[in-house]
Symmetry: D2
Subunit: 293 residues, 4 copies
């Protein structure tokens, strides 16, 4: 299905990034847009997309898409498929005055103040982007659980710790496997919602009363799994920590207790780069559509 | 399973109300509490619960539970199972100084300022109460749809308008029937969430592009279904309006267009008084437990 | 969506029946076929369909559809929307030599042996018809449960007795409500399947060990609910018997024990005539398509 | 939960096998039985279970459990955790007259006719065993799809080819991910059932009309995926063949067309040895319980 969306632009340059950007490019091209890739020297060819030097790519397009993150601590745009470093400062004149989509806009502007803030949109700051990625993270976490746990999720005793975006997505996704599901949360309304999902609801600060889990997903961005709790409920479990650095698990204690622990970070890009790339595209479309209202 | 919860009290008086209060009473009694009912003259007997004059009931208990609403515009406590009117003012000396659970605390204090505000808890204002009732409302709405629509929900073309608490509960519940499900919302992140549920996501202000629905659930507290939209998408549909007064449908236009329209209000009490009563009890327990932390 | 299916015929006459036949007619007309209704004197008009005398209707069409059942014990075709009786014998010359779809072919031929057996197809004897109706029955049963039980199905303690077609459909449908679900079966492989659905599996002949159900669906065509079992597990339950006559419940005992019992027969036609009518059409299409292979 | 099931025996010897047998042993020990393992020389210790020479193990127990398969073409019992070959003939005197559970009884008796057929039960021939393993296979196949496909299953265009035990389990499991699901079958009643699951139903012999799949699961034990069909519908798909040898895919053509193809055999033992081992135990329990009825 090739159609041309009326979003006011026809050409996109994707500068730097990893597999997600390749999939984002393919998806844009499939929608009928002209797409160029810059900073992908190791990619030899890609159907429907032109590969260029990053500067030329930037020059040739109306819209620029920077990756996630858009700039590293050295001022470079991360470019997984290139051996050359790609300086944001050097690129800056070529994208100045264009419509630029980036992640973490503050850091981009801090690194390169010359960029016009009003032309710079942060897809990473969008609620729809965050929510969609939470779902992708949940699916990636389920994949890890299936790889690490030697039984089926069906019938397994599973704990989801935390009922934020990822916890909610996990609760829904795991329900399809019919496990013995326990979900913890702090807020009373979350506990009520968990019960309505047919799962056992436990206050996160009363988790020490539980036991016997096969798989534990931790989504809470705080040090929840201290040594005592680990010893109490995670003994025979596969423990998958989805909280961003520094994580929610005392990993030294986890090692000492010989718990099968994994800190799974950046799952969307690792487990589902195709969907992660399409989410970037969808978010950019939505931003442009909203501007036209 | 009879146990005694350590919530600091042993005797409850339920004063006024409808079937929900009877189920709340039974559930409290099943948990091992002493329960008296006041203002239920038409109820002859109930296993495990004592029936009394409202004043005596209030006097005899540590905790008082007022119904939903707790006071009407004439200053009376609604008592569906009694022919006598039950004045909050007259009851007031008997409940003063006791632990009182009510709904819409502001109205209660306005009607009877002598009551000690600090001893008065409003279960109706709680997020967990509201969320649980949203689910009960969704189930009641599904029941109405099954009664009104002459096909199965399986395979039916269904629209849920709005993705708040009730819209979310409906989306989840209806998914189990495998309909052709469309859900509308205003926010981009809600549209993303709807898509992840496998439903078609539509902006509420673009609903006029849709058509052919068998069943429409409207949950948005605003006049959405104006004549043009009704004529466009609700022609052959059963239209169930769940928005509180004045509703989300131009009902005169709906009549004129001969649309099968129902404004379904207060569903928890009507469709599932047992669960609605148990939710009152659960919320009171949670309030008491949180105070003990 | 009006299209013309290549099934070798263009005109259909629907002779006798109830609301299901009206919906079957509408659905055929929506697919682009010419449809006449005979034996529906009380129906004044219907969009896209012509109403006729039964004999003329039969004469004018290539394909004849008889209702469910197709003939009663007096040799008449049941005609819910007519005061006149419609004799199969008298109609017979008008449908002889045509393609006729009926239910319970044996009874039709017994009543009217002159009909050409090879031109007579029994949609009711088809596995796909039976399976689809089992699902419709399950949805109708869930509707009854929602009407009779005063709590939500969410969280309710529900028993499905039997794991045949209807039992399987109920298990699937009820799972979406997240109840405490118990399903009984006789065969070990069914018990294994029930467990994988996340439900509690119980041997039907060990049901007397269970208790405390809110809602019981019985699908087994045998006298399962004898007095002792009723007293043991159905005391406070809504008991919905879906087994065809004489049912699976000792109804005298159920009355004596004051159990809220309902023998729900012919649910597809009563609860979902639209879908039931469309299933007749779909089955006829499938028969005709299979003949063309 | 340690309890003692009344199944008439107290001691089990598990002779040969792989991880499944280790998990079967652990599960039996957790249920309170005395368990010895024979033919697991490479296993140093296991909590609650004694490790022995195979002959001593067989001698010491009332019940013998042989692995899956129970005997290879050389007359040996497969023993993954041993370097020594374990001859069924040599073991035979030690298990003769005991209650023996095996797989593929015919082959066992062919290899060792001295064994008493009436004391020999074949867990592998049981419907409940086969059904449970079909579910485990489906979960393993979903895991492979998650590993191979670079997008999420949510929203992916998925085909399940065949609606037998594994096809049904896949349909159910995948529904939880809300993909665009197509399921193919030959029988009309299966097509009806597929539609009720909310999936698109396609006749297996009309699959050539479909296209654009991301993931294809093939469960049909016949050569379905010939070159033309591969070229038509599997071009950009991950193709997971679950049919036992020789499979359902022309793999030379798949190679030539550069299709991402995997023939996934023996998934229960590979992906979920814990559950696969517990299913062996459950089946043995069920056989023993049925004998006591």
């Amino acid at each position: 299905m090739v159609f041309f969306m009326n979003i006011g632009y026809k050409t996109f340059a994707i500068i730097g990034g990893d597999k997600r950007q390749l999939y984002c490019a393919r998806s844009l091209a499939n929608d009928g847009f002209e797409v160029v890739l810059g900073g992908f020297d190791k990619v030899i060819s890609m159907h429907g997309v032109r590969l260029m030097d990053a500067f030329k790519a930037a020059q040739s397009a109306e819209v620029i898409i920077l990756p996630l993150p858009s700039v590293d601590k050295d001022g470079n745009i991360p470019a997984y498929f290139s051996d050359k470093s790609l300086s944001l400062k050097e690129l800056s004149p070529f994208i100045s005055g264009k419509r630029v989509f980036c992640s973490m806009k503050d850091k981009v502007l801090l690194s390169e103040p010359s960029l016009n803030s009003s032309l710079l949109s942060d897809y990473y700051a969008r609620e729809d982007f965050v929510l969609s990625n939470a779902y992708v993270t949940a699916e990636g976490a389920v994949k890890i659980a299936m790889e690490r746990f030697e039984g089926t999720l069906n019938g397994a005793r599973i704990l989801v710790c935390g009922f934020g975006r990822i916890g909610k997505a996990l609760t829904r996704l795991l329900s399809g496997f019919s496990p013995e599901l326990t979900v913890s949360a702090r807020k009373s309304e979350d506990l009520a919602a968990i019960r309505m999902w047919g799962a056992k609801a436990v206050r996160t600060d009363e988790l020490y009363n539980e036991q016997g889990f096969d798989v534990i997903f931790s989504t809470v961005p705080a040090l929840i799994f201290r040594p005592e709790l680990l010893a109490k409920i995670a003994n025979d479990a596969v423990l998958i920590d989805l909280a961003s650095m520094p994580g929610s698990v005392d990993f030294e204690a986890a090692d000492r207790l010989e718990i099968d622990y994994i800190h799974a970070l950046s799952l969307p890009g690792k487990a589902s780069p195709k969907t992660a790339g399409e989410i970037i595209k969808d978010t950019i479309y939505t931003i442009l559509e909203e501007e036209q209202r």
